[in-house]
Symmetry: C2
Subunit: 214 residues, 2 copies
């Protein structure tokens, strides 16, 4: 298995955690998002992934894109340990938590959006940071309430083992801290993050522990 | 079943198509996104959906949020007709198409983001339209290439029956046209859209055919 990814990309980070939790070995192929105008835009890479985004996973010669689609694939193809509960409503709850990050927060503060705000709309750095903090805090505050509503909560977003929700939460909290977000409205999420980060599968996937970390 | 939604919301539209394709009856509960500062922010609604976004589905007293999580739930709970293929890699391909819209395009041109650009960053209407068109055309152009790469393509995004990918594509094309996007780079998507819109399940779900349509 080959993972085309970047140490700081939170979508990549989600997939690295899943691969580690499931005990799957993979080759790490770094795609530097800023070097040379962005290695994700080279013809060789866009032939694999026409969106010019990361991560991309190759498994047995098949090419998979979009981190959440990759996570669902890993779950179906390598089901142990499970990253989704069994009951359909519970599965929907976990997926809605993951999507609350992946659709409502992350798309608004990724590199290409910040570049557009800076280069096309001419906003200074500080306004970009205010923008990012706004969406991150709004999204995480809602996620905090969703997580608190789970009946008989465990130590993770849902239950007593890591799920897709935690795989999305932890990388998003790295971004939240990088942008200097006030996380006082999200005490449960901060606790869950600490529990996750103490696990080897999460720690090994952390940006600072990747071969291309700066 | 009860669907809290809004005629013009493309996330709502996705779920309406799925319910129709699967032949599921539901009560339509309109949540007007602009009236009275936004009915999605009322305490009664945010008690159901802390994110203050639509759609929300109630099924047998259980509450489900996030359109893609709802679609996966409907697929698991009411599997016929299937909206995902059987093979894990094919499923990942369809999901990646759906996510290419739901994560890369739709979050950037929805109401709350456009409101922020207008109210906080003081951009005039025309710059908002340029912004929306930029992300829609970029995302759909990439999706066009992904769809074209599918081996032995059928008349839909993947194969010969509608899938989650089509359920995300069709509402996004409504938005694309509303913003006046040039879709000349996406001939395959435009063809697929026409095939879908001719189906009663899609037509019945269209914004203009909803009880709250303006």
């Amino acid at each position: 298995m080959k993972l085309y990814n970047f140490f700081r990309s939170s979508a990549s980070y989600r997939v690295r955690i899943a691969l580690n939790l499931k005990g799957l070995q993979y080759e790490y192929v770094p795609i530097h998002l800023r070097r040379g105008g962005g290695e994700q835009y080279t013809p060789a890479y866009t032939a694999l992934n026409p969106q010019g985004i990361i991560p991309t996973l190759e498994d047995g010669g098949r090419v998979l894109t979009q981190s959440l689609a990759i996570l669902e694939y890993l779950e179906e193809r390598y089901p142990e340990p499970p990253l989704l509960p069994r009951d359909p409503v519970d599965r929907a709850t976990v997926r809605s938590m993951a999507l609350a990050v992946a659709c409502e927060v992350h798309p608004l503060q990724n590199l290409r959006v910040l570049n557009y705000l800076k280069d096309v709309l001419h906003h200074p750095e500080e306004e970009l940071n205010v923008w990012s903090r706004h969406w991150i805090v709004q999204g995480l505050t809602a996620l905090e309430q969703i997580v608190q509503k789970v009946p008989s909560r465990g130590t993770f977003c849902f239950g007593h083992t890591p799920s897709l929700a935690d795989l999305c939460l932890v990388p998003q909290l790295v971004n939240a801290r990088r942008f200097g977000c006030d996380l006082s409205a999200c005490p449960t999420l901060v606790q869950i993050d600490a529990v996750c980060c103490a696990l080897p599968a999460f720690a090994k996937a952390a940006p600072e522990n990747q071969p291309d970390a700066e």
